[in-house]
């Protein structure tokens, strides 16, 4: 669906995208995970033909996104809310559907669908300026889908959204995944990437640092789990995987659950037990030396 090879894009001296290469398969949800300023939005702009790469090549469904026809099958929900505040939700959807050359009857059908998708049927005729942040975000995504694209690009779609709307967005995206839509999802929230993405590309300062499934990334870069337990009883002859100081056992393991099971089978009784498994945050920390939210 998307092929990017050696993409480079600079703004003056600042290299926003530096040699990015990846492929996205049809029906896949592909995550671009990185902190603010990592080059995610620039990458999206290169994929939709908004910017020309300084070097490298992009192909979307085999075509050059710089050509208008190629963009017919792409839907994009930019990070900034890209809506006309003085128009109603329905008018926004109708207008943007019109820019894709849909017939009047098709526009009516798709606008009805999109309003239902965003859960905005009862606010359809209200101006967007009167919507809450979550409603605007949902409409922002609905506008990207109103022309029924094959590829959906979501650039940080949950920024500034309340938990209820965020959950609505997640459920909506999961429905789209089930329908086989190809999705490129950029975020700096690891829990979103973990929940929604089949594969994740970790980017920082325009460079691709790692690309794999969530489990694969954690396995490769996450390191070991850390276990901390308050011990009530411990047989004296049992060999412990770590040090016990004042009835508190601490150890690191690649397979923490199996290790805890071995200890309890050996007669160890825990009062409290805490297992800290590696996550995408740990992966990012390992790869860049800094936190995702830095």
């Amino acid at each position: 669906m998307i092929t990017a090879r050696g993409l480079e894009k600079s703004y003056g001296q600042n290299k926003a995208v530096d040699g990015l290469s990846f492929d996205i398969a049809k029906g896949e949800t592909f995550g671009l995970l990185g902190p603010n300023g990592a080059g995610k939005s620039t990458t999206i702009h290169l994929l939709i033909g908004l910017l020309r790469p300084d070097r490298g090549e992009v192909r979307v469904m085999g075509g050059d996104p710089w050509i208008a026809q190629t963009r017919q099958q792409i839907g994009v929900a930019p990070q900034a809310l890209s809506l006309y505040e003085e128009l109603t939700g329905q008018e926004n959807l109708t207008f943007f559907a019109g820019t894709y050359g849909l017939s009047a009857a098709r526009i009516r059908d798709r606008v009805t669908w999109a309003l239902a998708f965003a859960g905005l049927e009862d606010r359809a005729r209200h101006r967007v300026s009167t919507y809450s942040g979550g409603m605007k975000r949902r409409l922002n995504i609905a506008v990207a889908l109103v022309h029924e694209p094959q590829l959906l690009l979501l650039d940080e779609p949950t920024v500034g959204v309340d938990p209820q709307s965020r959950n609505h967005i997640f459920e909506s995206i999961e429905k789209l995944q089930k329908q086989g839509l190809t999705i490129l999802y950029t975020t700096h929230y690891m829990e979103e990437a973990r929940r929604l993405c089949d594969r994740i590309a970790i980017v920082d300062r325009g460079k691709l640092l790692a690309l794999d499934t969530v489990d694969g990334l954690i396995r490769q870069y996450g390191g070991t789990s850390h276990v901390v337990g308050e011990v009530l009883d411990c047989p004296s002859n049992l060999q412990l995987p770590g040090k016990m100081v004042e009835q508190c056992l601490r150890f690191a393991s690649d397979q923490p659950l199996e290790e805890v099971a071995r200890l309890t089978a050996g007669g160890v009784r825990f009062q409290t037990l805490q297992i800290n498994s590696p996550d995408l945050e740990s992966v990012f920390l390992k790869l860049t030396g800094r936190s995702l939210r830095d």
């Binding site: 908004l50 930019p78 006309y84 019109g98």
Partner: protein, 436 residues
């Protein structure tokens, strides 16, 4: 279809933005009405009168005739008052001026061999032009008194006899001069007597008014065709209604408001992110720009149609509707092009708005949106050719009241279309390069 979709969206946004809609439609109507009322003097019978307080210290029949003469003047509203109250009213700008008629005015006013009484005229210092006009009106009234003297022999003959006697008894006058003076006063007495007899006969025969004694039978001559056709006087002669001159100006204010609003709209699309969506859609950059241009073009035409409609309600009388329509299209083309260039001169709404209004104000001032070009000093009239506003107003006026032929309209129309095409090309090129 796509262009219409883009344009309708922009027009809808314009209609929903109250401030922009005011500057496009409300503000020009205000300007049109405001300037129309100011320029009312160009049409007949609608100019405001100067209110003059008259203090008559003489209260003689002649001083009353003098006041009546002033009251007959359509340009003056005469109010009698006390001196101090009159001074106060002028100082507080409630009246334009005051005129004091001195005591013994009636004894010598209008008798050309007597020293003329000293009239005191006090005018509001801020109204210098009207002061000069008022002096002229006073002179006119004094001259009419002179005629009055001849129309009333019973009152005038004693004055002539007294003057004759005084002249002949003057010992310092030589014999020859006395002989000539005696002949003059004798002829004058005979002329005044004849006028009295003629008046008596006419009254007896017809019972009507006596003929006025005139020094010469002068008829008003319309010299407008002999004036320099470019002179303000000659041009003003062609104006049929005050709105003929104020509504072309008002249209341009509306058009300037329109292009100010639309030039900001591209920066606004950029700042609110909708430009990204438009560019991500299967639209070319050219289509996006043409959509903006079409919306601006339609809004500009709408402004002109509304202003013409309002002007017609107020009795504006366009010379040619066809020419007005063609000039309107050229004007819209011109300012759409300017809008396209202005829209890409800044990246933020604030910068575009700043550049746009600075440009618009200079063009409006130079082009005659505030003061008609024909009333500007010569140097400014020459400089004004750089302003598209001037050519637009000239073209619209040409169609409304200047009675331009097609060949006379060609130059302003050609300039406007050229500016429009160049402006569109510059704007589109900059936008494409910026996004490339």
């Amino acid at each position: 279809m796509t262009l219409i979709n883009l344009a309708l969206k922009d027009l809808r946004l314009l209609a929903r933005d109250r401030m922009s809609a005011f500057f496009v439609f409300g503000f020009p109507i205000m300007m049109g009405l405001f300037f129309g009322m100011i320029l009312g003097g160009f049409s007949s019978g609608t100019r405001g009168k100067m209110e003059i307080a008259v203090i008559d210290l003489d209260q003689s029949p002649m001083s009353k005739r003098f006041v009546e003469s002033l009251q007959k003047n359509d340009n003056i509203k005469v109010v009698t008052d006390e001196l101090e109250a009159a001074k106060e009213s002028v100082r507080k700008a409630r009246r334009t001026g005051l005129l004091v008629i001195p005591e013994k005015f009636g004894e010598s006013a209008g008798i050309f061999w007597e020293p003329q009484p000293e009239l005191q005229l006090g005018m509001d210092p801020s109204r210098a032009a009207e002061s000069a006009m008022m002096e002229g009106f006073v002179m006119q009234a004094v001259a009419e008194l002179m005629g009055e003297r001849f129309r009333d022999p019973s009152a005038f003959l004693p004055s002539i006899s007294k003057a004759k006697e005084s002249f002949l008894n003057n010992e310092s006058t030589d014999a020859v001069t006395k002989q000539v003076g005696g002949l003059f006063f004798g002829s004058l007495e005979a002329m005044v007597n004849s006028a009295g007899q003629l008046q008596d006969k006419t009254e007896t025969a017809d019972g009507g008014f006596a003929p006025s004694l005139q020094f010469a039978n002068i008829k008003p001559l319309d010299i407008s065709r002999q004036l320099d056709p470019d002179s303000p006087e000659a041009q003003v002669k062609k104006i049929r209604s005050r709105w003929d001159i104020s509504f072309p100006q008002a249209m341009l204010w509306g058009i300037l408001g329109c292009i100010a609003g639309f030039s900001v709209s591209i920066a606004k699309e950029r700042s609110q992110g909708t430009l990204v969506r438009l560019q991500a859609a299967p639209l070319s950059r050219m289509q996006i720009m043409l959509g903006k241009a079409l919306a601006c073009f339609l809004a500009t035409l709408l402004v002109m149609v509304l202003m013409v409609a309002l002007g017609l309600l107020l009795k504006m009388q366009p010379g040619s509707y066809l020419k007005l329509a063609v000039v309107g299209v050229c004007t819209a083309t011109c300012f759409v092009g300017i809008m396209m260039t202005l829209s890409v001169l800044g990246k933020t709404e604030q910068s575009v708005a700043g550049v746009g209004w600075a440009f618009n104000m200079v063009m409006a001032m130079l082009g005659g949106c505030m003061i008609p070009v024909m009333f500007m000093p010569a140097i400014f009239q020459k400089i004004s050719v750089i302003s598209p506003v001037r050519w637009a107003i000239l073209g619209i006026e040409g169609a409304i009241w200047r009675d331009f032929s097609w060949s006379e309209l060609f130059l302003p129309m050609a300039i406007m279309v050229s500016v429009g095409v160049v402006g569109f090309a510059v704007g589109t090129t900059i936008m494409m390069r910026r996004n490339g």
